[in-house]
């Protein structure tokens, strides 16, 4: 019994001697009077700077609360407020701390400054923990900042315990209660998501993309062949630094993939990159349009659009007032057909709180119409950021500080179906974590995503990373044998069935290729109409690159599409794609050689459809016929022969008659639309001129066609 008391006494002595804060007083440092004095002086200097910084910090917090009606959600919300004074405080405080590491206050201050400046540095948490152990009452708010640091370090249980402790220590007002309640919920989310991590590979994109300087805001084309992003490097246009944070001004960089590898990134020309901030705000799926964020004076930050012409980008043009306001607009994302533009704005009018996601529709004049808030299913009372519309036409990725975040911004996915957005789904850990996770874009295939992070092991500051989704853990396959048939010992493998990947395959077709002149093979700039054959509507128009002739069109599944490639002086070229709703992600390469308008040129009108076994033109042929009419009107001297062909099914006589009637139907249609009959000849060829085999369905389909040939010019 006596022995136990002694043990207890020794333990208590050790605890108190270990856990008690040691003040900067001479009695605590016998024989070190001068050193203590010097350390005390440094402490005073450090505290002076800290107090000035802290006042700025607290003022900012009050202002934030007043503006946003809630406390900051992310540590980045504090925007490094007080940082200049905090930076000045660090060196003297470090000297004092080195002399007396067991002072609660100096550890608290260093921990607090670390929270503002470098919260992910393990030393920051150590300072705050040490301070708390030395004197849990050194400052009233120490439990709060310690809890937040635990949260930022994914120590969920400890964070929850400290947040709860703070609620008991401090008599919180309603806003503070709301703040703590949210943060506890975030920690609970973090704990749950961390327990079931999403299986991904995270790869740094390497030195051709990343550098010692910050790189962020990636935007990729649907086929992952081109990446544009923002960087703050020493080769920035004009070579200047922003006084605000002493970093080089932002510029936009681009890299293309060759042989599966990213090539060294290039700075875009001065058309895009000015001497001030120029950041990537988004890119179209085909990479032909780039959106730039610029922070000009008094406009709160706006978005500009530039188009790739040949090898260079044109001078960016500011998006209209339906998008850009006096408030802050930044990331934008175009829908696959270019008819909707999703963007972020922190404007007050129509906001549900903080920055929200809005959408504009292209009007009949080709202008962006009024902005519409996406509503409470997507937007929360907290901020949303980094919107990205997947080229499948219905899946949106965005970041939000609301919903079931783990802290700060988390990336979510929502799908537009049956006229409404689905409940946003947190992409989970480790894509998301307790810090801000924002500006996440995903490839057309849906198997890879790109984002920026300042995680350790990079080339310096923020780098661009690729996430490869692995889906659920792949189950190994065992060998086994059974002798199922008694009379015939027939070994069969006893295979274990693999479950499907959780990541759904994007229901998307990417059509890309090069448009050239059929005679000289030179690349051509041409316009490409994308037609919804079911609705008989041109839903989007794209252009091939004037220098390379390259084009890329994304076609979400579930529709029957036609495309028409056109250029003045050339015959148009049409193609038809029927993509059922279950069509998986696929890429088609379709190079198109346009033929000049000259006698003898023949093209197949692939988007003229007839009723089965009849000569009645189906309504979905209207767009193709309109193109033909325009061609004839634009070239009033040309005369054409319209030839119709069948496959070999049915008798020769029947096929000849059917084709003759079909060609006459087309000619009659054209005459009805005002084309002179003298310019048109109808000719039915039946099955006499096949261009493919009649042995297969696809061959027969190719043989059933309507062609026109220029006979006079």
């Amino acid at each position: 019994m006596k022995k136990n008391y002694i043990t207890l006494f020794i333990t208590l002595v050790c605890f108190y001697s270990k856990a008690q804060s040691i003040e900067f007083e001479k009695d605590n440092f016998p024989g070190k009077k001068e050193e203590m004095k010097a350390a005390r002086k440094q402490l005073d200097v450090g505290i002076e700077f800290y107090m000035q910084g802290r006042r700025e910090f607290d003022d900012f917090q009050k202002q934030f609360l007043s503006t946003n009606k809630h406390y900051p959600i992310s540590n980045h919300d504090y925007r490094l407020s007080g940082i200049a004074n905090f930076n000045d405080a660090i060196a003297p405080l470090n000297t004092a701390q080195a002399f007396n590491p067991k002072n609660a206050r100096v550890n608290y201050i260093l921990g607090f400054i670390g929270f503002v400046k470098d919260p992910n540095n393990p030393q920051t948490l150590t300072y705050m923990e040490t301070s708390y152990q030395l004197n849990a009452k050194v400052e009233e708010d120490i439990t709060y900042w310690l809890a937040w640091l635990y949260q930022l370090n994914s120590k969920w249980d400890q964070a929850i315990a400290k947040y709860n402790e703070f609620l008991t220590v401090k008599k919180c007002n309603a806003k503070e209660q709301e703040d703590i309640t949210k943060k506890i919920a975030e920690c609970t989310n973090g704990k749950n998501f961390s327990a079931n991590p999403v299986r991904v590979f995270v790869d740094n994109l390497g030195p051709n993309i990343n550098s010692y300087f910050p790189e962020y805001g990636p935007a990729i084309t649907a086929d992952e062949e081109t990446i544009t992003y923002t960087a703050r490097r020493d080769n920035t246009t004009g070579g200047k630094k922003d006084d605000g944070d002493n970093k080089f001004f932002e510029d936009v960089y681009v890299s293309n993939k060759q042989g599966g590898k990213w090539q060294p990134a290039k700075l875009l020309s001065k058309n895009v990159n000015t001497e001030s901030h120029d950041a990537v705000a988004g890119i179209s799926s085909d990479g032909s349009k780039l959106f730039i964020y610029r922070d000009m004076a008094k406009d709160g930050g706006d978005v500009y659009e530039t188009t790739l012409f040949g090898n260079d980008w044109e001078v960016p043009v500011k998006l209209n007032k339906n998008i850009n306001t006096k408030y802050h607009e930044n990331t934008v994302s175009l829908s696959f057909d270019g008819r909707q533009l999703y963007f972020i704005s922190n404007k007050e009018n129509g906001s549900l709180g903080g920055s929200d996601i809005y959408v504009c529709e292209l009007d009949v004049k080709g202008e962006w119409g009024p902005a519409k808030n996406l509503g409470p299913e997507i937007n929360t009372k907290y901020s949303e950021e980094g919107v990205f519309m997947h080229p499948d036409g219905k899946t949106m990725y965005f970041s939000s500080k609301g919903h079931n975040s783990m802290g700060g911004y988390d990336v979510y996915k929502s799908t537009f179906e049956n006229g409404k957005w689905s409940k946003p789904e947190n992409l989970g850990y480790p894509i998301n974590g307790p810090d801000d996770d924002v500006f996440f874009v995903i490839a057309g295939s849906g198997y890879r995503g790109y984002f920026a992070s300042a995680k350790q092991g990079g080339y310096g500051d923020q780098d661009i990373y690729k996430i490869t989704f692995l889906g659920p853990e792949k189950q190994p396959m065992l060998n086994g044998q059974d002798q199922l048939i008694a009379a015939i010992a027939s070994p069969v493998s006893n295979l274990k069935t693999e479950t499907a990947l959780e990541i759904k395959t994007a229901k998307l077709t990417i059509l890309k290729g090069v448009i050239t002149d059929a005679k000289n093979n030179q690349p051509l700039e041409a316009s490409i109409d994308l037609v919804d054959n079911d609705r008989n509507q041109v839903i989007a128009t794209f252009k091939s690159n004037s220098n390379s002739g390259k084009y890329l069109v994304t076609l979400p599944s579930g529709k029957n599409y036609g495309i028409a490639v056109k250029r003045d002086g050339y015959l148009f070229h049409s193609e038809n794609f029927n993509l059922p709703d279950n069509a998986d992600y696929q890429e088609f390469n379709k190079d198109v050689a346009l033929k000049k308008i000259e006698v003898g040129s023949v093209i197949v009108l692939k988007n003229i459809f007839f009723d089965f076994d009849k000569a009645t033109i189906r309504p979905e042929s209207a767009n193709e016929l309109e193109r033909l009419i325009k061609l004839l009107n634009d070239n009033p001297t040309i005369k054409i022969e319209l030839g119709s062909h069948t496959d070999s099914k049915g008798s020769d006589e029947y096929n000849l008659k059917l084709s003759d009637n079909r060609s006459k139907s087309v000619v009659d249609y054209l005459i009805g639309k005002g084309i002179s009959a003298a310019r048109l000849v109808a000719k039915g060829y039946g099955e006499t001129k096949p261009i493919d085999t009649n042995e297969t369905d696809s061959g027969r389909q190719n043989n059933r066609r309507t062609e026109f040939k220029i006979t006079e010019k």
Partner: protein, 348 residues
């Protein structure tokens, strides 16, 4: 392997259906001598002395050329001597004399040995026309349906066979297998258990029962059935491999490892055991070890699809993406449909 076993099946059935012996008098007339030759031929056939059997049947037929039983039995001997033309000629001659169900059945077995499925089925149908309750013909008709995936018809045929011969243990086993193919695991288990009641020494039936329990996710019973199979034949490595797999499925990785390692002690060249050990390594996230073990399995059996599949998984996790895709593509080539998903979602 399959051909050898077919041959074995043919011999077994041939003995079952070899034409009856003839009673012979003491003072032998030519006809009686012919009958004695027939009996001696049958005895030689039973002792697998096929050449003497052919000679004796031929002597008999020289005296009694329309003796259908001698023709039929000589046909069986010819089959064993791989003289199939002579066998078919004899069997057709026998059928001309007497179109009996058993002769048709023997003809079916000859075509089965020649892997002529259509002719085999015609002969079986003819047999069943003569005797719809012919247990063996119904059994093989069931087998024929099983092989083309018509499990309902197979079950029906096996049931007819069983109704004629309630102790037809093979028919129970095969009907169970057909039910298993239809995912009727309880029905399959019942039939396998009936087969075991009839003959508890049939190792492969215990093994099949274990696999059925495994498919039904009843791993403890699966392990018990495989253990029973090993008790009837301790060298039946198939059951040891399967028991390891059941332990693996049940999350008992150390027990599974013991089983696979026990297989390798008895058969160090066992590709399956190496691949299954690779599966354990994958589960344990030891991808380097998994890659090596699956590689060893492939070295031993270049057609081991699951080993390519597993090595692909290990290589992916080791960030050898191109190599992992090559492995999965090989697995697809070897008929593993599951690997297609990996190729389409992980490989450019």
């Amino acid at each position: 392997m399959k051909n050898k076993l077919l041959l074995l099946a043919l011999i077994c059935c041939a003995y079952l259906n070899a034409q009856d012996t003839v009673k012979v008098a003491t003072n032998l007339s030519p006809d009686q001598q012919a009958e004695l030759d027939y009996n001696n031929g049958l005895a030689a056939l039973t002792k697998k002395e096929f050449l003497p059997a052919v000679d004796l049947f031929t002597k008999c037929l020289a005296v009694k050329p329309t003796f259908d039983k001698a023709l039929s039995n000589r046909a069986i001997a010819y089959v064993q001597l791989k003289n199939t033309d002579a066998a078919i000629a004899d069997i057709n001659a026998a059928l001309k004399i007497n179109a009996s169900a058993d002769t048709y059945f023997n003809k079916a077995l000859i075509f089965m040995n020649l892997n002529k499925k259509d002719s085999q089925n015609v002969a079986l149908d003819n047999c069943l026309k003569q005797n719809p309750n012919h247990a063996e013909a119904n059994y093989y008709k069931g087998l024929s349906n099983y092989e083309v995936g018509d499990y309902d018809k197979a079950i029906d045929c096996y049931s007819k066979s069983i109704s004629t011969n309630p102790n037809y243990v093979y028919a129970y086993n095969d009907r169970a297998s057909a039910k298993r193919a239809k995912k009727d695991y309880p029905g399959a288990i019942t039939d396998y258990e009936k087969a075991i009641i009839i003959d508890s020494k049939l190792t492969f039936v215990h093994n099949n029962l274990g696999s059925c329990y495994r498919l039904n996710k009843n791993y403890d019973k699966a392990v018990a059935a495989y253990t029973k199979a090993l008790e009837t034949d301790q060298n039946y490595l198939t059951a040891l491999i399967n028991r390891g797999a059941a332990n693996f499925d049940n999350g008992k990785l150390p027990a599974a490892q013991n089983d696979f390692e026990a297989v390798l002690k008895k058969d160090p060249q066992n590709s399956f055991a190496y691949n299954n050990l690779a599966s354990i390594a994958i589960k344990s996230k030891d991808y380097k070890k998994a890659k090596d073990l699956a590689g060893k399995a492939i070295d031993l059996d270049a057609k081991n699809g699951p080993a390519y599949y597993n090595r692909g998984i290990a290589r992916q996790m080791l960030r050898e993406e191109e190599a992992s895709c090559a492995d999965w593509k090989k697995a697809v080539e070897l008929g593993l449909e599951n690997a297609k998903l990996f190729v389409s979602t992980n490989c450019d």
